[in-house]
C-alpha cells in the first residue's frame, strides 16, 4: 500500500467518520487530564488503582452475564429483556442454598430458604464467606447455575419456542412480559428489602505508589470463577462440534437448518450455556458486593446490553471485552464526573459506539 493511498484512506476516514475522530480526541483529552492529575498529585495513584480494580470486578460480572445474552441475541435474533431477571433468579436460588447450608440448625429453615426475608436472619451473622463457609458458597454457586439453566429452558419451552418464527420485536416485547412476571414474583416471595449476605471477607492491602489498594477474598474468588468459566466457554466453542454449529447458526439460521444442523438442539445448548453462566454471574455479583435485592439483575441488565452491543452481538470475546470496558467506564468515570452519573457514563459510551460503529468492536466474529 502506497503512502498516497494510505493518506487518501486516512482522509476519507476523517471525512466519513468525524464522530470517530471526535471520540478519539475526547478519549485522548481525558487520558491526558488523568496523567496531569497524577503528575501534579491532584489524583492519587492508589485511587486510580482502586477504581481500576473495582471496574475490573464489575466488568467480569457484566462480561460473564453478557456471554449468555450475546449468544441468545445472535442465535435467536432477539434482545432478551428477561435476562436481567435470570440473573436475579440465579442469585436468589444460589443464596437460598448457601443460607441453608451455612445456617442449618441456627435459624429456621423457612427464613433461610427465603434468604432472610423481612430481616429474619442475616448473612453476616451466619458468617457467610468463601473463607468462613466455603462449602456453602460452592454449593450455592452450583445451584445458582443449575437453577438458571432450568429456568431459561423452561421459559424457552413454554414462552419463546411457540413464537420462535415471529420477528425479533415480538420476542423482545414478550421477554419484557417475562421480566415483569419473574421480577415481581421474586419480590412477592423474597420481599423488597435489600439484604446483606456476607460477613466481612478477609482482605489484603497492596501498597501502590502513594496508598493502598484493598483486595478481598471475594474479589479473588470472582477473578478465579469468572476467568475459569470464560476460558471454558472459549474451549467449548473452539474445540467442539457444538461451537461450530452455533457459529453457523448465528451466521444464517436457514442455511444451518438446510445443511442439517439440528437447530433446536443448538438452541437448547445456547440456553444451557448462557443460562448457567448467567446464574453463576448473579451469584458471584452478590458474593462480591455483599447485598442482594430483587432489582439487582434488572439494574445490571442495561449495562450488560451496553457491553454486548459494544463488543458486537454474537461475539463472546466481544461480550467479555465490552463488559470490561463498561465496568471500567462506570468505575473510572468518577475521576471526571459526579458519581451519580457513573452509570449514565456507561450508557453514553454505548450510545456513542452505536453511532460510530453500530456493529460493535468485535463484529464479524460471530460467537467465537
Amino acid at each position: 500500500m502506497g503512502i498516497a493511498e494510505t493518506y487518501s484512506r486516512g482522509r476519507r476516514f476523517a471525512v466519513d467518520r468525524p464522530g470517530a475522530i471526535l471520540l478519539v480526541l475526547v478519549a485522548v483529552l481525558l487520558f491526558g487530564d488523568l496523567l496531569v492529575g497524577l503528575a501534579t498529585g491532584r489524583t492519587a495513584f492508589s485511587e486510580v488503582g482502586s477504581l481500576l480494580w473495582d471496574g475490573l470486578m464489575r466488568g467480569l460480572v457484566i462480561g460473564l452475564a453478557g456471554i449468555g445474552l450475546s449468544m441468545t441475541y445472535s442465535i435467536l435474533n432477539f434482545a432478551n429483556f428477561a435476562h436481567g431477571d435470570y440473573i436475579t433468579a440465579g442469585a436468589f436460588s444460589g443464596w437460598a442454598t448457601t443460607y441453608l447450608f451455612a445456617g442449618l440448625g441456627r435459624a429456621d429453615i423457612g427464613s433461610l430458604l427465603l434468604v432472610g426475608a423481612g430481616g429474619s436472619v442475616f448473612g453476616g451473622a451466619l458468617g457467610i464467606g468463601i473463607t468462613g463457609t466455603p462449602f456453602a458458597v460452592i454449593a450455592g454457586l452450583v445451584v445458582a447455575g443449575v437453577f438458571a439453566i432450568a429456568l431459561s429452558l423452561a421459559v424457552d419451552r413454554v414462552i419463546f419456542r411457540p413464537i420462535r418464527d415471529q420477528d425479533g420485536i415480538t420476542l423482545l416485547i414478550t421477554s419484557i412480559g417475562v421480566a415483569f412476571a419473574l421480577r415481581y414474583m421474586m419480590q412477592f416471595v423474597f420481599g423488597s428489602d435489600v439484604r446483606g449476605t456476607t460477613a466481612q471477607p478477609p482482605s489484603l492491602s497492596l501498597y501502590f505508589v502513594d496508598g493502598a489498594i484493598r483486595i478481598n477474598m471475594h474479589d479473588l474468588t470472582l477473578v478465579v470463577v469468572a476467568g475459569g468459566l470464560m476460558l471454558g466457554v472459549h474451549l467449548l466453542l473452539q474445540r467442539t462440534k457444538l461451537g461450530k454449529a452455533m457459529r453457523a447458526m448465528a451466521d444464517n439460521e436457514d442455511l444451518a437448518r438446510v445443511t442439517g444442523i439440528p437447530t433446536e438442539r443448538v438452541v437448547r445448548s445456547v440456553w444451557i450455556i448462557g443460562g448457567g453462566l448467567t446464574g453463576v454471574a448473579g451469584y458471584m455479583f452478590v458474593l462480591w458486593k455483599g447485598t442482594l435485592g430483587f432489582n439487582d439483575g434488572w439494574l445490571l441488565l442495561l449495562l450488560i446490553f451496553a457491553a454486548v452491543i459494544l463488543g458486537g452481538i454474537g461475539s463472546i470475546y466481544g461480550a467479555i471485552a465490552g463488559g470490561l470496558v463498561i465496568g471500567l467506564t462506570a468505575s473510572l468515570s468518577v475521576l471526571w464526573i459526579p458519581s451519580a452519573f457513573a452509570r449514565a457514563a456507561a450508557f453514553v459510551v454505548m450510545i456513542l459506539i452505536l453511532l460510530v460503529k453500530p456493529s460493535g468492536l468485535f463484529s464479524g466474529r460471530a460467537t467465537a
Binding site: 412480559g177 415483569f180 415481581y184 419480590q187 412477592f188 416471595v189 423474597f190 442495561l302 446490553f305 453514553v348
Partner: protein, 457 residues
C-alpha cells in the same frame, strides 16, 4: 375479521360509540361493586375521579406511543424519560421564585402555568430530537436500548445532587434531587378557571355540590372536573393524531413502517418524517407526564422508573398498535382492569374484612399453609402485596397477548392513510368529473363529517 371488529361496525356512532360504551361499562362495574358494598357517595365519586384520571393519562400516552410505534414503527421504550423532562422543565418554569424560609428548598422562574407547559413539551420534543438524530438510523432493537438507556440517564440526572439546586437568571432554582421537588405553583384548575374568569363561578358550583356531598366537597369536585379535563385532552390527542394519520404525512409514516427503502426511493426524505413524528410523539408524552403529575403536589425522580413505560406499552398492545381507537380503548382497559382494578379489589377486601392483619412477609404467610393448611395468612399477604402481584399479572397478560392476540383487542386494523376516502368508486367518480375536483373535495369533507368515525376498511 374479529368479533370485536364486527361489534365496532354495528356500534351506533362507530368507533366513538365503542369507546363511550366501553367507558360506560367500566364505570358501571366500578359503581355497582361500590353500591353492593355500601360505599358512601363521596367514596364512589372519588373512585370515579381516580379511575377517570388514569384512563385519561394512559389513553393519552398510548395515543402518543401509537404515533411512534403504530404509525412510524419507531420502537421507543424511553417514554418515561420524556414524561420526566416535561414535568421537571414545566416545574422549573412555573414554580414561584425562591424565598428563604419557605417550604420549598428551591424555587422556579415564577412564570404562568401555560408557559411552563409549553416549555415542558418543547423540552421533551427537544430531547426527542437529540435521541432521534443519531438513533433513528439504527435497527429497531437498538433504538429500544438507546431510548431506555436515555430514560435512565434522565432519571439519574434528576436524582443527582448536582442538579439539586443551581442559579438561573439570578434565582435559586433546581430539580430537588432524590428527595423530590415540591410543585408549589398555583393549583392548575384554579389557574385554568382564573384565566377564563370563571373561578368565582366554579367556587359557586363547588358550593352547590354541598347538596350531594355535605362536607368539604371541593377535593371531590376538583377530582371529577380534572378527570373530565383529561378526557377532553384525550379527545384532542385523538383528533390531532387522526388528522396526522389520515394525510399525506401519515401516508409517508405508514410507508416508513412498511419499508423505509421504498419510501426513500420514491423521493421521501424519510429521516425528516421520522424526526418530526418522533418529536411530536415526545411532546405529547411530555404533556401527558405534566398532566399526570401537576396536581400531585410533588414529584420524585424514582416515579419515572422504566415500568411506567411498559404500562403504556401494555395499554397500546391491548388496544392494538396502529389504531387510534384501539389506543384509547387499550388505555381505558389497562387503567380500569390492570392498573386500578387490583387496587380497587384490595380496598374491597379491606372493607369486607377490616380487622384482618396481613403477615409482613412471605415466610409467615406460607408457614401456616404448610403446617396446618390454613390459607388465610397467605390470602391476606397476597391481597396486601397486590401492587407487586399486579405487575406479575401484567407481565403474564403481555405474554398471553403476544402469543394469542398480538394485534390487540380490535384485531388487525388498517386505517386508511389519506385525507379522503380511498375507494375505487370515489376515485372513478373523481376521474370522470375531472374538472370539478373542488366539488369532489367538498363532498369528501361532507362524507367525512357524516361518517364520523375512522374510515377503516
Amino acid at each position: 375479521m374479529s368479533v370485536r371488529e364486527d361489534l365496532a361496525d354495528r356500534m351506533p356512532g362507530g368507533d366513538a360509540g365503542l369507546i363511550v360504551a366501553v367507558l360506560l361499562v367500566t364505570y358501571a362495574a366500578y359503581v355497582l361493586v361500590g353500591v353492593g358494598l355500601g360505599y358512601s357517595l363521596r367514596g364512589q365519586l372519588n373512585t370515579i375521579a381516580v379511575l377517570t384520571f388514569y384512563i385519561g393519562v394512559f389513553a393519552m400516552l398510548a395515543l402518543a406511543l401509537n404515533l411512534h410505534w403504530g404509525y412510524t414503527g419507531l420502537f421507543n421504550i424511553g417514554i418515561v424519560g420524556f414524561m420526566a423532562v416535561g414535568v421537571y422543565v414545566m416545574a422549573l418554569f412555573t414554580k414561584p421564585i425562591y424565598t428563604p424560609g419557605g417550604a420549598a428548598q428551591v424555587g422556579g422562574l415564577g412564570l404562568p402555568l401555560i408557559v411552563g407547559i409549553v416549555a415542558g413539551m418543547a423540552a421533551a420534543a427537544l430531547l426527542g430530537l437529540v435521541v432521534a438524530l443519531p438513533a433513528l438510523r439504527l435497527r429497531a432493537d437498538y433504538l429500544a436500548i438507546v431510548t431506555i438507556a436515555m430514560s435512565e440517564i434522565v432519571r439519574f440526572s434528576f436524582l443527582s445532587s448536582d442538579l439539586q439546586q443551581f442559579q438561573m437568571f439570578g434565582n435559586r432554582v433546581g430539580f430537588g434531587g432524590g428527595s423530590g421537588l415540591i410543585l408549589d405553583f398555583t393549583d392548575p384548575l384554579q389557574a385554568l378557571f382564573q384565566s377564563v374568569g370563571l373561578w368565582g363561578a366554579y367556587l359557586g358550583f363547588v358550593d352547590a355540590f354541598k347538596a350531594i356531598v355535605p362536607t368539604n366537597p371541593k377535593p371531590v369536585v376538583d377530582g371529577l372536573v380534572y378527570g373530565l379535563f383529561l378526557l377532553l385532552f384525550v379527545a384532542a390527542y385523538y383528533w390531532l393524531l387522526k388528522r396526522t394519520g389520515e394525510s399525506p404525512f401519515g401516508r409517508v409514516l405508514k410507508a416508513i413502517r412498511e419499508d423505509e427503502d421504498v419510501a426513500n426511493s420514491l423521493g421521501k426524505d424519510t429521516n425528516q418524517f421520522k424526526i418530526k413524528s418522533f418529536m411530536l410523539g415526545c411532546a405529547l408524552m411530555g404533556l401527558a407526564g405534566i398532566f399526570w403529575l401537576m396536581t400531585q403536589g410533588a414529584v420524585t425522580p424514582n416515579f419515572f422508573r422504566p415500568r411506567v413505560t411498559f404500562f403504556v406499552w401494555i395499554a397500546l398492545i391491548i388496544g392494538g398498535a396502529g389504531s387510534n381507537t384501539g389506543s384509547v380503548l387499550g388505555g381505558a382497559v389497562f387503567a380500569a382492569v390492570l392498573y386500578q382494578g387490583p387496587r380497587y379489589f384490595k380496598n374491597l377486601v379491606d372493607t369486607v374484612l377490616p380487622a384482618a392483619d396481613a403477615p409482613s412477609s412471605f415466610g409467615p404467610a406460607i408457614a401456616p399453609l404448610i403446617s396446618n393448611l390454613n390459607p388465610a395468612p397467605m390470602f391476606f399477604y397476597t391481597v396486601d402485596s397486590i401492587r407487586q402481584l399486579q405487575l406479575v399479572v401484567m407481565g403474564l397478560v403481555l405474554i398471553w397477548l403476544m402469543h394469542n392476540r398480538p394485534e390487540g383487542m380490535l384485531g388487525h386494523r388498517k386505517e386508511t392513510a389519506a385525507g379522503i376516502p380511498l375507494t375505487a368508486a370515489h376515485a372513478r367518480a373523481a376521474a370522470t368529473d375531472g374538472g370539478t375536483a373542488k366539488n369532489a373535495a367538498n363532498d369528501a369533507a361532507d362524507d367525512a363529517a357524516t361518517a364520523g368515525g375512522d374510515s377503516d376498511e
